[in-house]
């Protein structure tokens, strides 16, 4: 096996490499951590997230599996019962559905069924989201299905530093974690500091402070929101950008504090808006910050249609202009 070199110093890394380093650190720290998935061995995964890990840790810890998502997730459950901490890679978000039953009826419910006797420390890594011009099932945002399911935790990093730390935090969790990776940002670089842990797994991050309107999103959307904030500032509107990080549970206190300060909230997501995480956040904020709101909470989402062919992704996916359109509406309500 090749030598294992852990990330030692603050380094500028693309997000894909930050997750790779986070997995390496978690595997080195805990021998019960296993990686499982399709093409994750010599190839390093189709996005190279597991690059070199099989050479370093051996094929008994980085398992190339048969091509069957239910089998991968179902086996991971059995391995967790045996005391392992499996980290499963789903190749693209659209391919998680053959394993949906194992996630929703088993993984999410087993600790409850066992009345707490058996924890379920399984992490399911899911590259998700659009902006990559790909074919059907390769650009979607299915997070809400999982956020709706009791027993699961759902997170999504937006920066390389968070990606490095959050994957390790997710692996350390005794509960199942759906780890949604913004695949369009895999190659976006940022500084990763292996000596400065990021916030706890289920905390929001203030991505940009502002005073006039709060805008919240997660994953790749955070980049779009920061672009929108730049434009808004040039037009005299100060946006406060909250990076959600955790979709289940949602860290509401900082979000409510922000809304109480600005009096306005826009929720942005790539997913379709109907019965979505954005709907849930809008309802909860309206319930808890009603007297602070100057305007209704607005959602900026994908349309309630199947993700369109790639040539239309720019129309479907909320961009800075769509976000600013909603900001304008709330500011002039």
């Amino acid at each position: 096996m090749s030598e294992i070199q852990l990330l030692q110093e603050r380094t500028e890394l693309p997000l894909v490499k930050a997750i790779n380093e986070g997995l390496r650190a978690a595997m080195a720290a805990d021998e019960s951590v296993l990686l499982m998935g399709e093409d994750i061995g010599p190839l390093g995964g189709v996005f190279r997230v597991t690059d070199k890990l099989q050479a370093e840790f051996g094929s008994a810890r980085v398992l190339d599996t048969p091509l069957a998502e239910a089998g991968i997730i179902g086996s991971a459950i059995g391995l967790a019962m045996r005391g392992y901490r499996p980290v499963v890679e789903i190749q693209f978000e659209g391919f998680i559905f053959p394993g949906f039953n194992q996630i929703v009826t088993q993984l999410a419910k087993l600790t409850n069924r066992h009345e707490g006797a058996i924890p379920m420390p399984v992490v399911i890594r899911v590259p998700y989201g659009g902006h990559i011009g790909a074919i059907e099932h390769h650009q979607e945002s299915p997070e809400s299905y999982f956020a709706h399911t009791p027993g699961l935790r759902v997170v999504s990093p937006s920066t390389p530093h968070d990606a490095y730390w959050m994957i390790q935090q997710a692996i350390a969790s005794p509960d199942p974690v759906l780890f949604f990776e913004p695949k369009s940002k895999y190659w976006q670089k940022g500084e990763v500091d292996p000596a400065a842990p990021s916030a706890e797994l289920h905390r929001t991050r203030l991505a940009r402070a502002g005073t006039d309107c709060t805008v919240v999103g997660h994953g790749a959307m955070v980049t779009t929101l920061l672009q929108a904030a730049e434009i808004a500032e040039s037009e005299g509107t100060s946006l406060e950008i909250v990076d959600l990080r955790s979709l289940a549970p949602v860290d509401y206190e900082p979000l409510l504090a922000s809304v109480r300060k600005t009096g306005r909230l826009v929720v942005a997501q790539e997913a379709q808006g109907g019965a979505s995480l954005g709907s849930e956040i809008a309802a909860t904020v309206a319930e808890h910050a009603f007297y602070s709101l100057q305007a209704p909470v607005l959602r900026v989402s994908g349309y309630d249609v199947p993700f369109p062919p790639a040539r239309l992704e720019g129309v479907y996916l909320p961009d800075a202009d769509r976000v600013l359109e909603a900001v304008d509406r709330t500011m002039h309500y």
Binding site: A68, G78, N101, T105, P174
Partner: protein
């Protein structure tokens, strides 16, 4: 063991006769296919068979008691195992203490033999819990919880067996799992149960693919009881089910599922293969669900009385009783077993009816292993809500006001303020 790994039947050969040691009259009359497994019965004698018989009768009495409890409205549902006790008892006794068992939901005899109190199963069907026993307690014999989504447990079993294999590799400082490699001796195995209907689900098929790929120390057991609720096995498959396993590269045989000796002998051999690195196996036990699928089912709508009568004559309890008589076991034994079984069933009845309902806040207790703010918030809300009724009751006491629907204190106060009077 060439017969077990030879895939020739796939290419048109006839199916061998199902493995059987006891014929329907309970005489020891092994089939030709049974001979190679006969060595597994060496040292097994009348003392073992009387225990197996006792296990079957006690399970049957419990089963009948639970059906009665359901009819009396005391259980939400019951899943009878009547008729399938033969293979269950043989296979359960074939397992070793270190093995793990993943049942579907009709494996009451196996649960009992592995050490799970039958009351635990009844607790589940009374609606007191989704589990019923602590799998991590060694007293429960590594018998995992019932799984109601058909076939899901086959993958958990395969993952568990993969964990047994990886543990053995680690102990041997072997860091590789190569495609196509030979099996690894583990010293322990996993046995998983499902039925003929479930064989059509995707999960058990994927589980077999993983088991064959990694050579997991695992034995798949399909109790082919001929009926998936109302649909006959001929709707599920045009080929004997054991042949499917051969197609996955897994050794497989068909046994007479109402002969506990066949189940024991083949179970022993296959578990031994699994533990010694010879890879997974698959046992199709031909049996019959004499009872209904569940207490919600009415088999007279889809089965012929003749068929039922034929299989009632093959009842595994009657068969083993007949065999015991050939071995000289006399009537007082059977009477004593009957009485003990009835006594135990009555104890389960008394105990289950005395079980308190779970506390309301228990539904929040184990959704997650680590604290979760939403769960905490809702648990506290429910507590406040429940206690507000008590406050409202306290305020009402002594008053002559008639309140048809109790209001929580806060809501009652608000109604007063707004001038809403009942």
């Amino acid at each position: 063991m060439t017969e077990q790994t030879d895939l020739a039947p796939l290419h048109g050969g006839a199916d061998p006769e199902p493995i059987r040691f006891l014929d329907e009259a309970g005489r020891y009359a092994p089939t030709a296919t049974a001979e190679e497994f006969a060595a597994e019965l060496e040292g097994v004698g009348v003392e073992d068979f009387t225990q197996w018989y006792r296990d079957m009768v006690e399970t049957r009495a419990f089963d009948d008691e639970c059906t009665a409890l359901q009819r009396q409205g005391q259980l939400a549902l019951w899943v009878p195992s009547v008729g399938q006790e033969g293979c269950q008892v043989g296979l359960a006794h074939a397992t070793a203490p270190q093995d793990h068992i993943f049942p579907a939901y009709r494996e009451h005899a196996i649960a009992k033999i592995r050490g799970v109190p039958l009351l635990g199963i009844a607790r589940n069907f009374r609606g007191l819990t989704h589990g019923g026993w602590d799998v991590t307690d060694p007293a429960n014999g590594n018998f995992h919880l019932y799984t109601l989504v058909l076939g899901a447990q086959t993958q958990h079993a395969t993952g568990y067996a993969l964990g047994q294999l990886l543990d053995a590799k680690r102990a041997a400082a072997d860091t590789a799992v190569e495609p196509g490699e030979a099996g690894t001796a583990t010293g322990e195995a996993t046995m998983v149960f499902y039925g003929d209907g479930t064989s059509s689900e995707g999960d058990p098929n994927e589980a077999m693919i993983f088991a064959a790929s990694y050579q997991t120390p695992e034995v798949f057991v399909v109790q082919n009881n001929r009926w998936a609720i109302s649909v006959p096995v001929t709707r599920q498959s045009r080929t004997p089910l054991y042949r499917r396993a051969l197609g996955f590269g897994i050794r497989a045989v068909q046994i007479d599922g109402n002969d506990p000796l066949a189940a024991y002998a083949v179970g022993r051999r296959y578990l031994d293969f699994a533990r010694t690195g010879e890879g997974p196996g698959y046992i199709e036990a031909l049996t019959y669900r004499i009872g209904a699928h569940t207490t919600s089912d009415d088999p007279t709508r889809y089965r012929e009385a003749d068929e039922l009568e034929t299989w009632q004559r093959r009842d595994p309890i009657a068969r083993l009783a007949a065999h015991l008589r050939t071995l000289g076991v006399e009537e007082p034994f059977f009477e004593e077993v009957r009485e003990a079984a009835d006594r135990q069933a009555k104890q389960v009845r008394d105990a289950i009816l005395a079980e308190p309902d779970p506390e309301p806040d228990s539904m929040f207790a184990h959704v997650y292993s680590a604290p979760h703010p939403r769960i905490e918030e809702q648990r506290e809300w429910l507590e406040r809500y429940e206690s507000s009724f008590e406050e409202a009751d306290a305020q009402e006491s002594g008053s002559t006001a008639s309140v048809e629907r109790q209001l929580p204190a806060a809501a009652a106060a608000r109604g007063e303020k707004q001038g809403v009077a009942e």
